[in-house]
């Protein structure tokens, strides 16, 4: 197994030279000038390489964990910082996330999706737990004034500083393309759906809390949340992102 791990790592180093970090994080190439075939080959190589690294982690290979940390820590840290707002707590969540992969490598099943979304999901879960504990302890104040239609709440796109009407994402610099593409897809949601997703994902609120905050029936919140996710799933600009099932 050591030999297999060494081969995987050698391949991984070679791969790191060919693909930018942001490309490997989600295993795809957004926009750019490369051909679709090249992008597909890159995606397949990245996925195969990642599976080999995860197998090495399962064998207790710390170098494989280091490789995966190098690829994904930035994305995981950015999300947890966004949720928690302070670096020590975000660092704790990042550490717990990668240690979960280390201690329980079988918790991640490659057949159910790619590693980066799984890592984000684990980190988000930890971060929301922390956020809710804080809210219980401090009666966390919402910075926005609730209203029945979501107006007055901080909107996701405003918060991200990008919007779908803010120019062509393809013209953005390479390092920002991934973020811009996702923001464009979010921009195609209705504001009601977007605000609901933001309150859940970035504020850690439950469906019931969102319904109370917005003065909406719980069923409306559930529907907006489900339709928002389903619409993102169907967004053509994100089509190459999803695992084949």
């Amino acid at each position: 197994m050591v030999a297999v791990c060494l081969r995987a790592l050698s391949f991984s180093h070679a791969l790191a030279g060919r693909y930018t970090r942001s490309t490997v994080e989600l295993g795809l190439t957004f926009g750019g000038g490369g051909s679709a075939a090249a992008a597909r080959r890159g995606l397949q190589a990245a996925v195969a390489d990642e599976a080999a690294l995860v197998a090495c982690v399962a064998e207790g290979d710390a170098h494989a964990l280091e490789q995966l940390y190098e690829r994904h820590s930035r994305g995981v840290y950015s999300v947890t910082m966004r949720l928690l707002g302070d670096s020590p707590a975000a660092e704790e969540v990042v550490q717990e996330t990668f240690l979960k992969l280390w201690r329980q490598p079988t918790a991640y099943q490659s057949a159910r999706g790619r590693l980066f979304p799984w890592l984000l999901s684990v980190a988000h879960h930890h971060a929301v737990d922390l956020l809710r504990r804080r809210q219980l302890e401090q009666r966390h104040r919402m910075p926005a004034v609730p209203s029945s239609n979501g107006d007055g709440l901080v909107d996701l796109l405003d918060n991200l500083g990008l919007s779908s009407s803010d120019g062509d994402p393809q013209s953005r610099a390479g390092a920002f393309e991934q973020q811009a593409t996702v923001v464009q897809a979010l921009g195609n949601l209705s504001k009601e759906q977007r605000v609901t997703l933001e309150l859940a994902y970035f504020r850690g609120l439950t469906q019931l809390e969102i319904a109370n905050l917005l003065g909406l029936p719980l069923g409306t919140v559930k529907t907006r949340m489900r339709l928002g996710l389903q619409q993102l799933r169907k967004a053509p600009e994100l089509a190459r992102l999803w695992s084949e099932r």
């Binding site: 707002g85 280390w102 979304p117 988000h124 973020q179 559930k222």
Partner: protein
């Protein structure tokens, strides 16, 4: 406590969306997972929702984690698989019955020697951990130097001096930008002090557009450097500047520019 009634696949979808976003309580999570275990199609839908939720997370501006974090994660991983805790546990399990006999005294002496040895090994391990941390920090520094050397060796390297916006402020700095690799470095000296939890954020400015290049945490003297993200079409931007922002970064400048420089050659 009685189990809630089995849910329909339609009900599952509503709850699965909440579970994927961590917007449900633990009971709802259990119900969703129970249903998914029995319904492969719904299980696929739940995985799909989780992937979509992760994509929402990837829309946030990217921040570089502290370099020391990697060392801590790897160290914790090594410690998790290390033998020291198990050895201590085993030593505890080997504790003999209390009897004043020669074999007991020999065993007790051995046990004490073992404890001393374990303590000595723990000290050694502490030293090793410290050395490993130092080695990791050195590797991090080497990696930064390597990235920096790549930036400086670029054919397309653009270098601009940073100047303070306010008069009679001694701040100065330089920004090195490599549009080929999309990276660069920013160095500043004598920056005005900022409050704890805040940072200087680098912005590329083009018309009404503001693109974040990264964050800079200066030391107490106002000096600091950081690797930054550089748009590959950086020379189409008008200027680069620094503003005082929350330590998590902002999506848009919220304070006046502290330092900056024009980017276009003609503007020099």
């Amino acid at each position: 406590m009685s189990e809630p009634a089995t849910m329909t696949c339609e009900e599952f979808l509503d709850l699965a969306a909440a579970v994927a976003l961590d917007a449900s309580d633990s009971e709802e999570v259990r119900r969703v997972e129970r249903h998914a275990a029995e319904c492969p199609e719904c299980a696929r839908q739940l995985d799909s929702f989780r992937e979509v939720a992760a994509v929402i997370g990837s829309a946030v501006p990217q921040l570089e984690p502290p370099a020391a974090l990697r060392g801590r994660v790897l160290e914790a991983a090594r410690h998790t698989r290390g033998g020291l805790p198990r050895s201590l546990a085993a030593a505890r399990n080997r504790r003999p019955r209390f009897r004043f006999s020669a074999p007991w005294l020999v065993a007790a002496a051995s046990f004490l020697v073992s404890l001393v040895a374990v303590g000595w090994l723990a000290m050694l391990q502490g030293d090793i951990l410290a050395l490993q941390n130092e080695a990791q920090a050195a590797r991090d520094r080497a990696a930064r130097f390597e990235r920096l050397s790549q930036v400086l060796a670029s054919d397309k390297l653009a270098v601009r001096p940073l100047r303070p916006i306010a008069q009679n402020v001694p701040s100065h700095g330089m920004v090195y930008m490599d549009p080929l690799s999309g990276t660069g470095m920013l160095m500043c000296h004598d920056l005005p002090p900022i409050e704890q939890g805040r940072a200087y954020q680098v912005w590329f400015v083009r018309g009404n557009e503001r693109v974040s290049g990264g964050l800079l945490w200066p030391d107490r003297s106002g000096n600091g450097s950081t690797m930054i993200q550089v748009p590959t079409d950086v020379m189409s931007y008008e200027s680069v500047g620094l503003t005082d922002e929350p330590g998590t970064g902002s999506s848009w400048p919220t304070t006046p520019r502290v330092m900056g420089t024009p980017l276009k050659e003609t503007a020099q």
